[in-house]
Each structure stands twice: as structure tokens, then as C-alpha cells.
């Protein structure tokens, strides 16, 4: 597929902080505002390799998720409230993959999407995490995230009274 921005190459090699080279397509480059601005500033870059201070595993996971997305469909970034139904409709496979990756990798992926301004990836990660929380009660949320209850009995009683749910 031709790159959306004229000076973006068809493929690009990214050298990570671990000195590993990961090859990505133009479509994926186009998802990242940071990389696109890099090309904008530097004009046509003759070399097909750039170095970005990211970990290999994180970058590979990001590439994997984005490859599962329908990148032909433009993504409208929603800061704050996400249209989960629309996200799911367009990126079902990517969301299924994200649901299965370990917590550390998920957190790292979120940070990577924030660093490289990968809006679509960011929204997908946030939607996945929101999905872990939605519909659960307090105990289930704590179990899902491995959290400890640091409230006192009195405070919990107050929550129950206020919200009428089982803590």
C-alpha cells in the first residue's frame, strides 16, 4: 500500500534500545505521530533505518497489534471517552490479542503508545483495560488486578451504604 504521507517509505527498519532491528511497514509508520513528525522535519530520509529508544518486545507487540487492525479505516482519536462499540467493530482481533497478553506487557504497550503517539493503539489498550474493570464488583476487580484492599471496615460499610453493592 502506498504510504499516506509522500515522504514515508514503504518499509522502515527501527533499531531499538536493545540494538535489535524491527521492520515495520509504511502503514504502521503512519499510525505514529512522532515518527511522522520525524520524517516531516527531516524531509526524505535516504536511510531506511532509524533508531528509537524503545524495547524490542514492546515494539514487536505494538507491531503485532496494529497488524491485526484494519488500518484502512481512519481512526478518530477520542481523548477521554472511548466509543467502545466502534472500536470493537473495527479492531476485534486486535482486542482479542490484547486481552491475552501479560500485565507487564500491557502496561509497557500503553507507555509505548503514549511515547510514540500511537492513538489507535493507545485507545485499544485503554479500552482493553476498561473492559477488565467494567461489569465487575469490587472484589472481582481486586482479584483481576491483584490488588489489596486498603480501606477500613468503616469506609467499606460507607461504600456499601452509598452505592448499594457488594464490596
Amino acid at each position: 500500500m502506498a504510504s499516506i504521507i509522500a515522504n514515508l517509505p514503504e518499509t522502515l527498519k527501527i533499531r531499538t534500545s536493545e540494538n535489535e532491528v524491527v521492520e515495520v511497514t509504511g502503514k504502521l509508520i503512519n499510525e505514529s505521530l512522532v515518527i511522522k513528525e520525524l520524517f516531516d522535519k527531516n524531509g526524505d530520509i535516504k536511510s531506511d533505518e532509524i533508531t528509537i529508544e524503545v524495547k524490542s518486545k514492546e515494539l514487536k507487540n505494538a507491531v503485532k497489534v496494529l497488524e491485526l487492525c484494519d488500518l484502512e479505516k481512519p481512526h478518530v482519536s477520542m481523548s477521554g471517552y472511548l466509543d467502545l462499540a466502534t472500536l470493537k467493530g473495527a479492531n476485534l482481533e486486535a482486542l482479542e490479542f490484547l486481552n491475552s497478553i501479560p500485565g507487564d506487557d500491557m502496561a509497557a504497550l500503553c507507555n509505548l503508545s503514549f511515547t510514540l503517539e500511537l492513538a489507535r493503539l493507545s485507545d485499544l489498550c485503554l479500552a482493553t483495560i476498561a473492559g477488565f474493570i467494567a461489569g465487575k464488583n469490587v472484589i472481582e476487580i481486586r482479584e483481576a488486578f491483584g490488588l489489596k484492599n486498603d480501606y477500613t471496615e468503616e469506609e467499606e460499610a460507607e461504600f456499601r451504604k452509598r452505592h448499594e453493592f457488594d464490596v
Binding site: 477521554g80 472511548l82 502496561a107 485503554l126 488486578f145 489489596k148 452505592h163
Partner: protein
């Protein structure tokens, strides 16, 4: 016992023997050379293990623990297997792991589960950058947010610092008109869409600070204003929910606060049309005036005069009022000053309804035509097209960017394209003339003289539902995303659930939520929103049914209210029921303009252009006079569907020559008793029933004379075919 254990161990699975002896031993026990025990054996052994005593199980476990390969070899194999594993595809890796898991016992699986769980568990809310953590939580609904804030103190901090309760409320206000309206009416909108600092001051003032200075002083004392705000919005949300639930309950039970405006019309009483907003109600009256009422004190603040007939329809926006009248004109007024800006003289008979939107105005008339206008400005309004095709008065019209929809006394609804005015289709189904209609988002809702309401899909023309329940003519109807509200000639207003109405499986009785009875005359017009209904009636009142500030003691009065006619000094006190109370005095109107290109080519053969002169224009209409088909008997705007009554606006002081009743009276209208109005109505109805029955046998003499032989035959044939609907 030891022999049993040894015996069991010899048959147990999960042995990987590295030496030949062990391999041979394994083969003797059914273990294949690659160390994998067939599945059947595994199941059999596991079942066997489960069947043994606890002691034996412990012994078995102990023995299992003592098995294994040499640690150094284990390390080599692990590395080799890991490399092989990495070379596999995702799918293959998953299958490999599933294969291994299938070989494990419950104890092992439990351990594996305990290992995996923490891998997936991370406190993202703490790990993520703050704005991302807030973004995650801001996607939760109210319950999710409440749960999240109760999970841990850190989560509650994120929610508080992100003002997520406030953002949730703001989101609802943006997306939901009910929330939006409530935020304005209850006054908490001011706490939204402001900066954090402003919010703190406003909250402090709301909670007791006398002025800004005091609020600022209070804010300075707060150790953390974030928590102060958080508590406010967190408490506000359930209050809003409670308010919404109460409003919903009020709609269901009919509990409301009623406000009444007595319009105090001098002569002719009745309020034919209205429109309202938060500040005013603009009403069109039978006494030829437009009255503007102040919502805050229900006082009349302005009276617009100019029409020489009843004001039958109106619409306004932030600049103009457009009104239609039985004087056959449309007038344009300045909405702020009340100055008359323009008069449109086109229709030859009463203007029964109008709508304007986006520079386009559509009017419909008793002259059976629809006029489409381009509004360049209040002073410059040009006639674009005239749509003909209806066979009786066009009682109502509505439109959007795609379609114009009209409904008529001829019992049909017609659909026309807005851009080209091309006729699209006719919707048939009502058994009597159609008095009211609304069209929105592909859905048409119509009310008819047959006492029913119909829902239609505009694209395919299908009737989706028939709502029955009204006992008299359905005179006005409106709907929104949730409800249909209708008003009828018996003074009753009914509230229907739109969603259940659209569901064909819902039984009929479940659709009508409530019947509201307060008007003592025909309900001519109503408008409603999430919080109120505003209705107008022949009883010369405007009622405001407030479901937001309901009086706890008031529950909808379901008793049948006596629908008394207007006071006896009203000329129409004795009037008969009529379908569409359109015009009063039938003075000879201006000659109709050339109708222009017909909009309905398909119906041209049956088209019946407005009469050019003729006896019927010189006096009150007899419903049957200009009828050429049974449809008009029922649908003529002056003729109620069921019986051929005379117009209610009949002027008794000048009995028209063609007025059958007057002829039958012999001595003239003054001989008819004017006391006992209710009895008078009954007597009239009975008389007209008999007259009508007689007249059904023969068409009116005037028509017979006018029609040619073939038309006469066609008309008779049509009547026979339709089986004399009356």
C-alpha cells in the same frame, strides 16, 4: 501397602525414563518410546488414583516427586525445547501448551494457574501515566466508577484528581437531551463545563458562601480543593439519577403539576394551535388573534391582531412567527415585536397547517392543495410549487430535508420529495380522514377521525402499528424518541410508549401508559418534551402538565370528564362535532392561483381542483356538497368522519341557503332551543344520521347536474364498490 504403591508407581504416567531399562519398563507398561503415555492410559490411571485412599494418594504424590530426569539434562532439554518452541507459530505454541496442560493433573494445573494469574495482573491505574489512567476509568459507567473508587485508595485518588464524576455528568449532558434539560431546569448546569477553580467557588456559594469573596476565602481554607469538588459531583450524580427516575415515574402514574391559562377569548372561544419554549407560549385562537403568554407568570404579554379568521396553525423560531388562518392567508410576524411583516395570499380556502425550516415553508389548505415556498427573508417569500393530488382538505403537513408528508380528509397520507416536489407514494389504511400527523426520522405517526393512531415507515410505506384507545377523533399528535402523546375530541390526552408501540409483539393494552383528563373540550393541539405537555383546547384554555415539579398529591384523573361545549354565548356552543374546524365564515375567497404543475401525476385522473366559485363557497360548508367520493364524506375537513355534520362554526344568525339543517328547521335557527345544549347536540346528531342515510342513496342534486353521464356512473360505481363507508 508398599507393594500397592510400587505397583501403582509402575503403572503411573508422566515417567520419562532416560535409560534403556527405564524405556523397556515404560514399554511394558504401555508407554511409547518417546515417553508419551497414550491418553486412555492417562485417564485410566488418574481415575485409579482418584479411587484410592488419601494415604495412597499421598504416597503416589511422594513417588511422583521423586521421579525426574537429571538436572543437567533437564536444563539442556529446557533450552532445546525453548528454541523449538520459539520457532513455532503462535497457533502452534498455543497447541503445544494445551497438549502439555492436558497431561497435568489437578494439582499441577492449580500451580500453573497460580503462576499465570499474576502475569496478567497489574495495577494499571497506578502503572500508567495519569492521563491514561484517567482515560481508562472515564470509560466506565456510574456503577463502574463507583466500584472503581471503592477498590483502593489509589484508584479513588485517580478518580478524584481526574474529576471523573464531573466528566461523567458532562458526558451525559452532552449526549442526552433529558440530562441537558434537567441541568438547566434544576440549575446544576452552572457547575459543569467550567474550570476547576470556578467549580470550587460555585460549589462554595451553592453550599452557603454569600458571595465570591467569601467563597474564595473558604477555598483558601481547603487543604485539597480536589476532594471538595469530588465529593460534590459524586453526590450530585445519584441525585440526578433519582430526579430522572422520579420524572419517569410521574409520566407512568400521571402525577403532575397543572397550570391553567384561561385565554378569555371575547367571542369565539378556543385555542387552535400553540408552540412553547422555556420563556413563552405562543397560541393561535379562534377569535382571530395570536396571544403570547409569559411562562413565568402565565400572563398574556402580547396580542397580535391582523387575521380576519381563526388562527388555525402557527410556528415560530427566534426571528419570526408564521401563522395560517381560516381567512386563507399566511402571515409572518416579528417574534420579538409582534409587528406583521408579510402576508401570503395564495390559498383559496383556510390554511389548515404550516411548517417552516431552513428557508423553506410548506402550507396546506382546505383548498386541497399544498404550497411550497422559499423563504429568502421574512419579507421575501416566493411560491415554489403547488402540490395537488389530495381529494379533500389537506389537514396537516410536515417535512424534512428528504420528504414532505401530507395528510388529508381523503384518508390518505402522501409523500413527496422535498427537493423536487415529486410525488412518491400514498399511504392508505386509515378508515376516516386524517386530522394530525408528525414525521421524523423516517417514522410517520398519524391520528384520524377513525379514532385510531397509525405508525408508518416512510420508506416502504408500510403501516407498522395501529394504536386504538381513543374513543373520539384524534385531533393532535406528537412524538419524540420515547413517547407518543395524542389528544382527542373527547378532551382526553393519551401517552403511549413509542418503543413498545414499535414492537409488533407487544399487546395493545400495554402501549398506552396513561390517559390524562382535564380539558373540558376538544383538544386541538399539544406539544411536549421530557418534562411537560402543553395542550390547548376548545374549552379556551391552555394547560401545562408539569411532570418535573409534580404535585405529590396529583395523580392523573382517569375519570371520564364531561366534555361540555363552550359557553352558550359562544356561537359554536351548539355546533356539531366537526372533523376539522377550519373556517368559520365562508366568504368567497380569492380565486385560487393556477395550481402549477401537479405534484401527483398518478392521481391526476382523480384530481379535483378547488372549486372555482359555486354555491358551496358562499356559505358554511355542507360536508357532502362538493364530495365526489365517499372519501370526502368522511374526510372533508369540515365533515367529521362518522357523520355529515355541519361545520361547528355555522353562523346561526345567517343561515346559509344550502344548510340542510336550517332548511329542515323551517322556521330558522332561532326556533331551535338554545337551552339544554347537550340535548341539542344529541338531537342534531340523530337528525343528521337520518338525513345522511337518505342522502347516501342519491348524490347531491347540484353534483348530478354538474357531472356528465360517465362521471355520474363512475361515482355511483365507486360508491357501490366502497360499500358506502358511512
Amino acid at each position: 501397602m508398599l507393594d500397592e504403591i510400587n505397583g501403582a508407581s509402575e503403572n503411573s504416567s508422566n515417567h520419562v525414563h532416560s535409560d534403556e531399562a527405564a524405556t523397556n519398563h515404560a514399554e511394558e507398561n504401555g508407554v511409547t518410546t518417546n515417553g508419551v503415555l497414550p491418553q486412555a492410559n492417562i485417564n485410566g490411571i488418574k481415575n485409579g488414583v482418584e479411587g484410592t485412599s488419601a494415604t495412597n494418594m499421598m504416597a503416589t504424590l511422594t513417588i511422583n516427586e521423586s521421579r525426574g530426569i537429571d538436572p543437567a539434562e533437564f536444563e539442556i532439554k529446557t533450552k532445546t525445547w525453548s528454541e523449538d518452541f520459539d520457532a513455532m507459530s503462535d497457533r502452534q505454541q498455543q497447541e503445544m501448551v494445551e497438549t502439555l496442560l492436558n497431561r497435568m493433573d489437578h494439582h499441577q494445573l492449580g500451580n500453573v494457574d497460580g503462576y499465570i494469574k499474576p502475569l496478567l495482573q497489574r495495577d494499571f491505574i497506578v502503572l500508567l501515566p495519569r492521563n491514561m489512567a484517567e482515560s481508562v476509568l472515564s470509560n466506565l459507567d456510574a456503577r463502574g466508577l463507583a466500584m472503581a473508587s471503592s477498590v483502593s485508595r489509589e484508584w479513588r485518588n485517580v478518580i478524584a484528581r481526574g474529576s471523573l464524576w464531573r466528566k461523567l455528568i458532562e458526558r451525559h449532558v452532552r449526549e442526552d437531551s433529558l440530562w441537558r434539560g434537567l441541568s438547566e431546569k434544576r440549575g446544576w448546569k452552572k457547575f459543569l463545563f467550567v474550570t476547576t477553580e470556578q467549580a470550587t467557588l460555585l460549589i462554595a456559594i451553592a453550599q452557603g458562601a454569600k458571595n465570591r469573596a467569601e467563597a474564595e476565602a473558604f477555598r483558601a481554607t481547603l487543604s485539597d480543593p480536589i476532594w471538595y469538588q469530588h465529593e460534590f459531583y459524586r453526590t450530585l450524580y445519584p441525585q440526578i439519577q433519582g430526579d430522572i427516575a422520579l420524572i419517569e415515574q410521574n409520566w407512568k402514574t400521571g402525577r403532575h403539576r397543572l397550570q391553567r391559562i384561561n385565554c378569555q377569548s371575547e367571542n369565539s372561544k378556543g385555542v387552535y394551535c400553540l408552540q412553547y419554549d422555556d420563556h413563552r407560549i405562543i397560541s393561535g385562537l379562534r377569535d382571530n388573534t395570536i396571544k403570547i403568554w409569559n411562562r413565568s407568570n402565565l400572563q398574556c404579554k402580547q396580542v397580535l391582531t391582523g387575521h380576519t379568521g381563526s388562527v388555525l396553525c402557527l410556528q415560530y423560531d427566534d426571528q419570526i412567527i408564521a401563522s395560517g388562518s381560516s381567512d386563507a392567508t399566511v402571515r409572518i410576524w416579528d417574534v420579538e415585536t409582534g409587528t406583521q411583516l408579510n402576508t401570503l395570499i395564495h390559498h383559496s380556502e383556510a390554511v389548515l397547517h404550516l411548517r417552516f425550516h431552513n428557508g423553506m415553508l410548506v402550507t396546506c389548505s382546505k383548498d386541497r392543495s399544498i404550497a411550497v415556498w422559499t423563504m429568502h427573508s421574512a419579507h421575501e417569500i416566493d411560491l415554489r410549487r403547488v402540490l395537488v393530488g389530495h381529494r379533500a382538505a389537506v389537514n396537516v403537513v410536515d417535512f424534512d430535508d428528504t420528504y414532505i408528508v401530507s395528510a388529508s380528509g381523503d384518508r390518505t397520507i402522501k409523500v413527496w420529495r422535498t427537493d423536487t416536489c415529486e410525488f412518491i407514494r400514498t399511504l392508505s389504511g386509515h378508515k376516516r380522514g386524517i386530522a394530525c400527523l408528525q414525521y421524523r426520522d423516517g417514522l410517520i405517526v398519524s391520528g384520524s377521525s377513525d379514532n385510531s393512531i397509525r405508525l408508518w415507515d416512510i420508506e416502504c410505506g408500510a403501516c407498522l402499528r395501529v394504536l386504538e384507545g381513543h374513543e373520539e377523533l384524534v385531533r393532535c399528535i406528537r412524538f419524540d424518541g420515547r413517547r407518543i402523546v395524542s389528544g382527542a375530541y373527547d378532551g382526553k390526552i393519551k401517552v403511549w410508549d413509542l418503543k413498545t408501540a414499535m414492537d409488533p409483539r407487544t399487546p395493545q393494552p400495554s402501549i398506552c401508559i396513561k390517559t390524562l383528563v382535564e380539558h373540558t373540550g376538544r383538544v386541538f393541539r399539544l406539544q411536549f418534551d421530557e418534562f411537560q405537555i402543553v395542550s390547548s383546547s376548545h374549552d379556551d384554555t391552555i394547560l401545562i402538565w408539569d411532570f418535573l415539579n409534580a404535585d405529590p398529591e396529583t395523580v392523573a384523573n382517569n375519570a371520564v370528564a364531561a366534555v361540555e361545549p363552550a359557553e352558550s354565548d359562544d356561537d359554536d356552543a351548539d355546533a356539531n362535532d366537526n372533523h376539522m374546524e377550519v373556517e368559520e365564515d365562508e366568504g368567497a375567497g380569492p380565486a385560487p392561483l393556477n395550481g402549477g404543475p401537479a405534484g401527483d401525476g398518478a392521481d391526476m385522473a382523480d384530481d379535483f381542483m378547488p372549486q372555482q366559485g359555486g354555491a358551496h363557497e358562499n356559505g358554511p360548508h355542507d360536508a357532502d356538497e362538493n364530495n365526489d367520493s365517499d372519501a370526502n364524506d368522511n374526510g372533508d375537513d369540515e365533515a367529521p368522519a362518522q357523520q355529515g355534520y355541519l361545520p361547528e362554526q355555522m353562523d346561526y344568525h345567517q343561515p346559509p341557503e344550502n344548510n340542510l339543517l336550517a332548511q329542515l328547521e323551517g322556521a330558522g335557527p332561532h326556533a331551535w332551543p338554545r337551552n339544554g345544549v347537550r340535548d341539542l347536540h344529541r338531537a342534531q346528531r340523530q337528525l343528521y344520521d337520518e338525513v345522511r342515510q337518505v342522502r347516501q342513496e342519491y348524490p347531491p342534486l347540484e353534483q348530478i347536474i354538474r357531472l356528465g353521464p360517465s362521471d355520474r356512473n363512475a361515482m355511483v360505481a365507486e360508491r357501490e364498490l366502497e360499500g358506502q363507508v358511512m
